[in-house]
């Protein structure tokens, strides 16, 4: 264990900003629920009506957790934030752990450290310490934000303590996964699978009789019943699971060779399939997982929005805040709600579009483009294939969201015509989505180092949509967001002009980026 404290100090230095951002984000997740719930309903009667409606919505229960005391602010915070909070704190722990264990081992930096006067278990011990500290920080900040809101102190603290304990469970899981998998990717995959299983088990359990929820750490956390008859003993389950996974990790670590994993990578095909001979085939092969994943995610999100059916009126209350948020769309409240839901789906689809559009930069930065462009493949053809995939993938992802929305609505309301109606209403949003991916391409062509700045474009659009009308931002500023121009179908009739203009802007950005790439040096390490 020699050198553990030295490593802890080193890790804290490397991670402090990252951990701080995670902690702030997670705290905001909890605190903003309290703020928005408080602002949304003006009378308790209204609140009761909304709560009654939410309780009976199976999709909401499956997404968030068991519906308890939903007509109180604390109950709402617990319901809305705990499942996502647990997943987020799990992600933070996973990235922290794998970054210092398996990733370091793969790059060989760990070898350097271990060759120095550092004990065999020191990296593992130091990683554990830092990850636990990070989880404690998150828990403390969440508790503090809720206590000062103010909500009931004991329940607020319970939410924080439980969150830190869930984080500890996933820390142990990631630590174990980093020993089992033989690459960072495998470690991420294993930890992610455990987190996914924990989420799904509790979703099925919460919708059913609750038995399966007891197989999930997230279920234990929610089983503490904060703000609805608090009990502390489920924390013991969390701590026991954290200890068990950590001990497991230490045992495996002691028995394996450096650089080896328990699970080895499966061999793949020794020959390429027919698709893998064209740039389009290559682009699809590299991105298919992400296209399918994002499509499934948007489909489910759309489905849960749609499953609210005609009841959205009750859900939204009658406060100024909800009027403000949905007044953007105008018209009947149901239509206004779904027009806004479609915008949200489009912003999510932008996540795929931007991540896909910055991929060429990653391939360039990591030196893979060099070998490709030294073949008969021209620069234009290579980039064009990537663009085609980004455009087609974005359409697919967005379409999946619209389809989910329509199907969800149709299932709840029995109105089968809604499937086609909402699906079609989603499609024009492809234009503003592609404006953002076009921005990424322009950056790639002109200032490749800054390609990732395209994410800032998405962030800006999100901020404008959520807060623009609320804070009465100047119109010219809101107009800068590509999402601020389209007619809000179904609340308003569709208009061609803004759609065509946005489409033209997207195309112009993309063409300019492509032309610039043709003229510049390929950057090589």
């Amino acid at each position: 264990m020699t050198g553990t404290w030295l490593l802890v100090r080193h890790y804290v230095r490397r991670d402090r900003w990252m951990v701080l951002w995670w902690a702030l984000g997670i705290t905001l997740l909890y605190w903003s629920q309290a703020v928005s719930v408080k602002g949304l309903y003006t009378t308790q009667a209204e609140f009761d009506r909304a709560a009654a409606m939410m309780e009976t919505n199976t999709a909401f229960v499956a997404m968030a957790g068991p519906a308890r005391a939903l007509n109180t602010i604390g109950g709402q915070v617990t319901w809305q934030a705990t499942a996502f909070g647990a997943i987020t704190v799990g992600l933070m722990s996973m990235f922290l752990v794998v970054r210092h264990t398996r990733a370091e081992e793969e790059t060989g930096r760990d070898e350097l450290l271990r060759a120095a006067a550092v004990g065999r278990q020191a990296t593992t011990a130091a990683t554990l310490v830092v990850a636990l500290l990070a989880n404690l920080l998150v828990g403390a900040m969440v508790a503090l934000s809720l206590v000062t809101f103010p909500l009931a102190a004991a329940d607020s603290i319970a939410l924080g303590v439980g969150l830190a304990a869930v984080g500890a469970v996933f820390t142990g899981t990631a630590l174990l996964a980093a020993q089992l998998g033989s690459s960072p990717r495998a470690a991420y995959g294993l930890t992610g699978a455990v987190m996914g299983a924990a989420y799904v088990l509790r979703a099925i359990g919460d919708v059913g009789d609750g038995t399966l929820s007891w197989l999930s750490p997230i279920g234990w956390y929610q089983g503490m019943h904060a703000f609805s008859g608090l009990r502390w003993w489920p924390v013991l389950l969390l701590l026991a699971a954290a200890a068990a996974t950590t001990v497991g990790a230490v045992l495996v670590f002691a028995r394996r060779d450096f650089g080896a994993g328990v699970l080895v990578d499966r061999p793949g095909p020794d020959r390429a399939g027919g698709l893998l001979g064209t740039p389009e085939g290559l682009a699809w092969r590299l991105q298919r997982g992400s296209v399918i994943g994002w499509s499934a995610g948007l489909f489910l999100t759309g489905l849960s929005y749609g499953s609210l059916g005609d009841d959205v009126g009750d859900l939204m209350g009658d406060s100024e805040m909800s009027r403000d948020l949905f007044a953007q769309a105008g018209g009947a409240l149901v239509d206004a709600f779904y027009a806004t839901a479609i915008l949200m789906l489009a912003l999510l689809a932008c996540g795929y579009a931007v991540s896909s559009a910055i991929r060429p930069r990653r391939d360039e930065d990591e030196g893979r483009v060099e070998v490709l462009l030294a073949t008969g493949l021209s620069r234009q053809r290579w980039l064009l294939a990537q663009v085609l995939l980004t455009v087609a993938g974005s359409a697919l992802v967005l379409g999946a969201g619209g389809l989910g929305l329509g199907i969800g609505f149709a299932l709840t309301s029995g109105d089968s015509g809604a499937v086609g109606r909402y699906f079609v209403a989603t499609l024009p949003l492809l234009a503003p989505v592609l404006v953002l991916s076009g921005l990424a391409r322009l950056l790639f062509g002109v200032v490749p180092r800054w390609t990732s700045l395209a994410w800032a474009g998405l962030l800006f659009a999100v901020v404008i949509l959520l807060f623009g009308p609320l804070f009465k931002m100047p119109e010219w500023l809101q107009d800068l967001s590509p999402f601020h121009h389209l007619a809000l179908v179904p609340a308003e009739p569709f208009r061609w002009a803004p759609f065509l203009v946005l489409g033209a802007i997207a195309a112009a950005l993309s063409v300019a980026g492509q032309a610039a790439f043709r003229r510049r040096d390929v950057e090589v390490r």
Binding site: P267, A272, G273, T278, P279, V371, R379
Partner: protein, 308 residues
């Protein structure tokens, strides 16, 4: 010369800046058809930059560059179907297998020779079913080498292609390049492995600070350096000190040790012969000495040898 018109690589006065850094500063380089041309120089001297300009990945700031009779910037893709490239640091897609990458690169280059592909995978002892992220540096290089050598091309651009290979695999590589040359292929080989250069290259060019400081066959280059001579003679050898080209002379009675410019070797041996040689050893300059002389700080004084 007429032959130069069709030389696969012709570079004259090539200049390439990165910001304020002059990576290439008036480079001249000609690689004739059918030769394996060694490209040597210390790290950062501009070897990789030259190859990337030849590939049309970087744009020349000044000077003329002809590759296989075409313009590497404008006709990049067409020219690339006739050549193959192996970088020193091969980066692969983490989730594609080596076999898939070989096929992908081969197809993009216009097709692979199936028999040759199978044979090379065997000779390089490459496991083509492993994913890109699990390969070591040497194995990643093998993937690129198999993809390059299995293509039917006229020209190979090899940028330190063996820097991760073990000596056994290095030998396989040398055999493959020899076979390629026998079939009439041309290659530009940048390398730090001097034994490999000596084994493979017909001519070498030595690069320093973005300029070519020496070009010629190895024997021509050797000619420019000094041979170490130790001799014991019957009579004390007189007049050695006054001969041109003799350096670091030490005479102890009838023994003499000195270095001599290889060009003056004949004259000096004449003097020793006149003194009656009893024993003598003459060590020709090693490649290391040859290159250290150019890599080091000392500015070369000898005039460049004309390649013709």
């Amino acid at each position: 010369m007429l032959a130069d018109v069709s030389a696969p690589i012709e570079i004259a006065g090539l200049v390439k800046h990165f910001g304020t850094v002059h990576a290439l500063d008036g480079l001249d380089l000609t690689v004739a058809e059918g030769e394996v041309h060694g490209y040597l120089g210390p790290n950062g001297s501009g070897k990789s930059t030259t190859i990337r300009v030849l590939l049309g990945l970087l744009r020349a700031d000044e000077g003329s560059v002809r590759l296989l009779g075409g313009d590497p910037w404008r006709e990049a893709a067409d020219l690339h179907r006739r050549l193959a490239y192996v970088p020193g640091d091969v980066s692969l897609w983490p989730n594609l297998t080596g076999g898939e990458v070989i096929d992908l690169l081969g197809r993009l280059r216009g097709g692979l020779d199936e028999r040759r592909r199978a044979e090379l995978v065997e000779r390089f002892e490459l496991d083509p079913t492993k994913k890109g992220r699990t390969y070591s540096k040497g194995n990643r290089q093998k993937v690129a080498l198999v993809a390059a050598l299995a293509s039917d091309v006229e020209l190979l651009l090899l940028d330190e292609p063996t820097s991760g290979l073990d000596p056994l695999m290095g030998e396989v590589f040398e055999q493959c390049v020899d076979e390629f040359r026998e079939q009439g292929g041309t290659a530009l080989l940048s390398s730090h492995v001097l034994a490999e250069v000596e084994q493979l290259c017909d001519r070498v060019s030595i690069l320093r600070s973005g300029r070519c400081v020496e070009t010629g066959t190895l024997s021509e280059l050797r000619h420019l350096t000094r041979t170490t001579v130790r001799a014991e003679t019957e009579r004390p050898p007189g007049g050695l000190a006054s001969l041109p080209g003799v350096h670091d002379l030490v005479v102890e009675g009838r023994r003499a040790a000195f270095e001599v410019d290889t060009a003056e070797l004949d004259t000096v041996l004449g003097v020793l012969h006149a003194a009656g040689i009893r024993t003598m050893s003459a060590t020709p300059p090693t490649l290391e000495e040859l290159f250290l002389r150019h890599y080091g700080d000392a500015v070369p004084t000898a005039a460049p040898v004309d390649a013709s």
